[in-house]
Structure formats: structure tokens, C-alpha cells
């Protein structure tokens, strides 16, 4: 028994060391830092109070929340419609379409911001074309502003929403539609009273992931607007200069707030995934938890580059 234990601990030790050093210690240091007095011992809520009284940081938080909310809601609406559409194709074509959509989501972060600058920036191809054609509707559009950011964020939200949502449409059986139609329901009535309620857990779960995604996205916004647009992630990033954090306590407090919002969103996803499994497990035989996990893994892959 002793012999076996030694092997077990030997196998686990490097792993535990790495996780403690690079996962737990930083989180702990950030948490304690956010409650620490500047230049002295003792606990304090000063940094949080300071943030709550600073119009600047409040605006950053508000901007981040709004951009995350807008881009996730637009992303989920587009994703929902497209996900339904994609389930109407034969599996071979469906998989090809999904592959294409996933492929484009490799194009995230810096390269994505750059592509949009080529297209719609100050000297972008479309900007100049529209000007030449006299389409003055687009003259007011500014890529480096709120609307531009939402546009770019939506671009990376849609493939993700599509990927996470389309399997849940297979939980809705054609027979139910037929039954509803026989009972005199219009397609709209069916979707309002049967279809959408069935999809609700999946929708909110996906919304959680999209929201967390947009809240934490840094590279895209950073490459697009640099420090010029007031977002929470950008503010935190700008506090890090070289190897040190300026105002480390305040930076930690901001980081804790950002982490709290994404944690909440991911928790929402977790709860909703459980609930939607209750729904679909009984009907869709293939939607095992392993598949849910692997889809989440892919979602995470996309997130990394943002």
C-alpha cells in the first residue's frame, strides 16, 4: 500500500506544483492585493470604493458590460436563426458549413481587427468605395468607435453561438411540429409556445459563454482602438507596464471585478447546460456529456485568441 502511494504522489507532485504556482497563486495574490492597503498592512475596501466613485472606471465597466451585452444578444439572435437554418441541410453540407464557420473563427484577435481596418478603417476598401459611390449613409460610420467595436465583436460571437446552439435544435422533433400543426397552431405559435421554451436553457447557457467571451476579450479591442476606448479589459491592460503593475492594488480590484463577471456568466452556462441536458438527454440520444464537453473545448479554443 505504501509503495503504491509513493507512485501516486510522485505522479501528482509536478502537476500540483504547476497548478499552484501558475493558477492558484496568481488568483490568490490578486484577491488579497485588491483588499490590501497601499503601502501598508491591513485590509481595506478602499480600492473598490474608489472604483465605485470614479466616473472613469465606472464608465469602463459600463462600456464593457454594454458591449458584451449588445454583441452577445446580436450574436445569439443571428446564431439562433442560422443554427435553425443549418439543421435544415443534409448532414454532409451541414458539417461543411460548420467547418467553414469554425475556420473563420481562427481569425480572431489581432488579425481580425486588422482585417476590419483594411475593410472599414479610415482608408479601408469599403470606406473609399462607399465614398466614391456616394453612399452617404455609411459616411458617419467609424470603425474605431462603439459601433465599430460592436461590429467586430459580433463577428467572433456568431460562429461560436452557431456552434453551441445548433445541436439543441435536434432536440425539437418534427413530430411535435406536426402535432402542433394538426391541433391548429401556426408555425409562429409553435415556436413561441413549444420550440423556444425548449431552447431557453441552451440559449441562456450560450449567452453566458458569449458574454464572458466579450467581457474578457482584449486583443481585438486593443489592436483596433489601442487605449483610446474605455473598456474594463483595456483599463486593466494599460495598468500593466513592462514587468510591473502600476497601482497594483487598484489593478487587482479591477481584475477581480472583471473575473467576477466572467465567472458569473460561465456559472450561468454551467447551470443551463445541466438543465438543457435534462431536456435533451431524454430525446436526443447522441448528445452525451462528452460531446457537450468537446464543444465547450472548441468554444474555448476560439476564445483564446480574443
Amino acid at each position: 500500500m505504501k509503495h503504491r502511494n509513493r507512485w501516486v504522489w510522485l505522479g501528482l507532485a509536478p502537476f500540483a506544483l504547476m497548478v499552484i504556482a501558475f493558477q492558484f497563486m496568481p488568483i490568490l495574490s490578486m484577491l488579497t492585493g485588491s483588499f490590501r492597503n497601499v503601502g501598508g498592512p491591513g485590509l481595506t475596501l478602499d480600492h473598490y470604493i474608489k472604483i465605485m466613485h470614479s466616473a472613469y472606471y465606472l464608465q469602463a465597466i459600463k462600456n464593457s458590460l454594454l458591449i458584451a451585452a449588445y454583441s452577445s444578444i446580436i450574436g445569439i439572435v443571428v446564431g439562433l436563426i442560422c443554427a435553425y437554418s443549418i439543421t435544415r441541410f443534409a448532414p454532409v453540407i451541414r458539417d461543411r458549413l460548420l467547418m467553414l464557420s469554425n475556420m473563420t473563427s481562427n481569425f480572431a484577435g489581432v488579425p481580425l481587427a486588422f482585417a476590419y481596418i483594411i475593410l472599414l478603417g479610415n482608408n479601408g476598401v469599403f470606406t473609399l468605395l462607399f465614398k466614391q459611390w456616394g453612399w452617404s449613409v455609411f459616411a458617419d460610420f467609424n470603425l474605431y468607435s462603439w459601433s465599430g467595436l460592436v461590429l467586430v465583436y459580433v463577428y467572433f460571437q456568431v460562429p461560436l453561438a452557431l456552434l453551441l446552439l445548433y445541436p439543441s435544435f435536434y432536440g425539437i422533433r418534427d413530430q411535435w411540429k406536426e402535432a402542433a400543426a394538426l391541433l391548429g397552431a401556426s408555425p409562429w405559435q409553435f415556436w413561441r409556445t413549444v420550440g423556444l421554451p425548449m431552447l431557453t436553457p441552451a440559449i441562456f447557457g450560450t449567452l453566458g459563454i458569449l458574454f464572458a467571451n466579450a467581457m474578457g476579450a482584449y486583443a481585438t479591442a486593443y489592436a483596433l482602438v489601442g487605449g483610446n476606448y474605455n473598456l474594463l479589459a483595456i483599463r486593466i491592460g494599460s495598468m500593466v507596464a513592462g514587468d510591473i503593475v502600476n497601482q497594483p492594488e487598484l489593478g487587482s480590484a479591477l481584475a477581480v471585478l472583471l473575473a467576477l463577471s466572467t465567472l458569473l456568466a460561465v456559472y450561468l452556462n454551467h447551470r443551463m447546460t445541466k438543465r438543457s441536458q435534462l431536456f435533451t438527454a431524454a430525446y436526443a440520444s447522441k448528445s452525451s456529456s462528452k460531446r457537450v464537453l468537446s464543444r465547450l473545448t472548441w468554444a474555448k479554443v476560439k476564445e483564446e485568441a480574443l
Binding site: V8, G11, L12, P14, F15, A16, M18, A21, F22, Q23, M25, P26, I27, S29, S85, I86, R88, A90, N102, T104, F107, A108, V110, P111, F114, A115, Y116, I117, I118, L119, V125, L128, L129, Q132, Y155, V158, P159, A212, G216, Y218, A219, Y222, A223, A233, I236, G237, M239, V240, D243, P248, G251, A255, L258, A259, V266, Y267, K290, T297, V301, E304
Partner: protein, 267 residues
């Protein structure tokens, strides 16, 4: 069932629009990389290979590519060496820890890169272990980034080959534990592990946030280099962006092919 096989025009045009929307930024970058003169026309007026040529002559680009490659390789190799025994031990001997592991694996999902970077810099910029701004802190951060893929990849492989039964059989036949692990378990889980390794590699290759914040001033990876180039020359930057994309694409194609092959074998 006929409706399933042939999608209606509404669905077709919807998907067509979606694909156009998703592909336009990519196509634009691709065209821009080969365009000589592209001002007021839908397509470029003349083409050139100048930018691609310039890219390959740029020593900084080749340096950044090399840095990216070896940093990712070291991180993935380290992760493999650390994770293989750990996940093996947990899956086989300590299945009760799996709930804890699941929570641990979700954590990197929930903590954004900027937040992780602040924590890491706070922990390692002073005190006994001063490794801020060096490759060590980056490799550590990368380890956490790829933790979920490695864990899930290795665990799923172990479960598919029923590692516990295999191990029992090997020990029954007189193999010692270490020998059983190396000669029986490892060769069996290898294909699945290779997939998660490649996946991790391509994830790290595209990593920008942590790299830029932790070591941006000292170490240039391909993403950091691309970011610096965006402001300088648009055409050159698109050549870099598009070759990066082609590389990632090749990587994911290999991944998918491998995945299909292995799934086919299992079935």
C-alpha cells in the same frame, strides 16, 4: 424526410449570406497581401508578390516565427510530461478527485487573459521568485492555458482504452507498474494524446494577450510581431496575417483528419 435532404431557398440564401459575412474579412486580408494598387475598386487593380517576398526577407519575422515555434513546443512538451502521469494517476487511482479536476479545468475558461496576467505579474515581479518578463513565466502561463485541452484529451483517451482493465491485465501478467504504464498504457493512448497536443500547440500559437502583457517588451512571438507591424505597413501585415492563417488552417486540417481516423479505428 425529403425536406431534410434538400434545404429550401430561404435557408440556402441565409447560409450564403452568413458565409459571405464570415469570409469577407479573410478574403480581404488575402487580397490585400497580393495587391499592388487597391484604392477605389471592388477588386485590386494590379497584383504583386512583393509583400510576401518582403515578409520572408524580414529577419524579425523569421525570428518571431522561430520564437513562437520553440516557446510553444517547450510549453506543450512540459505540459505533456507533467500532465500524462498526473491525469493517469487521477483517472486510475483517484477517481474521487475528478469533480475537483473538473472545477479546476473550468477555471481557465472563466478567468480572462488580462486578469491572469495581472495575477501572474503581481506574484512573480518581486519576492523570492523573480521571473517576470522572462520566458519562464510565459511557459507557466501557457501551461495553465492548455490545461483544459490536455486534461480532457488524456482523460478521454484513458477512458476509451479502459486503462484500468488494461493495467490490471498487465499486472496480472507480472508487469511492474512503471513498465505497464510505459509499454501498455502509453502506446494505446498515444493517438488521442497527439491530437490534444496539436490542438494545444495551435492555441498557443495564436495566443496574444498573455504574451504581450507578460513578456511583450522582451520576447517577440508571431502575434506580438504582427501587432507591431499592423501600424507600419498594411500590405506586409496582411501577408503575415494570411500566412499565419494558412498555417493554423493546415494545423486544424491535420487535427481533423487525425481525429476522424482515430474515431474510425475506435468504432
Amino acid at each position: 424526410m425529403m425536406t431534410r435532404l434538400k434545404a429550401s431557398w430561404t435557408h440556402r440564401s441565409l447560409m450564403f449570406l452568413l458565409m459571405i459575412y464570415l469570409l469577407i474579412p479573410l478574403l480581404a486580408t488575402g487580397l490585400y497581401a497580393f495587391a499592388k494598387d487597391w484604392q477605389t475598386t471592388v477588386l485590386p487593380e494590379s497584383w504583386t508578390l512583393e509583400w510576401v517576398g518582403e515578409m520572408f526577407q524580414d529577419l524579425r519575422f523569421l525570428d518571431a516565427l522561430w520564437t513562437s515555434l520553440y516557446l510553444c513546443l517547450i510549453s506543450v512538451a512540459l505540459s505533456l510530461v507533467v500532465m500524462l502521469p498526473a491525469v493517469f494517476v487521477i483517472t486510475v487511482y483517484l477517481p474521487r478527485w475528478e469533480t475537483f479536476m473538473k472545477g479546476l479545468v473550468v477555471l481557465p475558461y472563466a478567468v480572462p487573459g488580462v486578469v491572469a496576467a495581472v495575477g501572474l505579474i503581481r506574484t512573480y515581479s518581486s519576492g523570492p521568485i523573480d521571473i517576470a518578463g522572462t520566458a519562464y513565466i510565459l511557459i507557466g502561463a501557457y501551461f495553465v492555458v492548455i490545461l483544459p485541452y490536455m486534461y480532457q484529451g488524456i482523460r478521454n483517451s484513458l477512458l476509451t482504452v479502459s486503462a484500468v482493465e488494461l493495467l490490471n491485465a498487465a499486472e496480472l501478467l507480472g508487469a511492474r507498474r512503471m513498465r505497464a504504464f510505459v509499454t501498455v498504457i502509453l502506446p494505446n493512448i498515444w493517438p488521442g494524446v497527439i491530437i490534444s497536443t496539436l490542438l494545444s500547440f495551435s492555441v498557443l500559437f495564436g495566443e496574444f494577450v498573455l504574451t504581450n502583457m507578460l513578456v511583450g517588451g522582451h520576447i517577440q512571438t508571431i502575434q506580438v510581431y504582427l501587432y507591431q507591424r499592423v501600424g507600419e505597413s498594411g500590405h506586409l501585415a496582411s501577408a503575415i496575417a494570411i500566412s499565419y492563417f494558412v498555417f493554423i488552417l493546415a494545423m486544424s486540417t491535420i487535427l481533423m483528419k487525425l481525429g476522424r481516423k482515430i474515431n474510425g479505428e475506435v468504432r
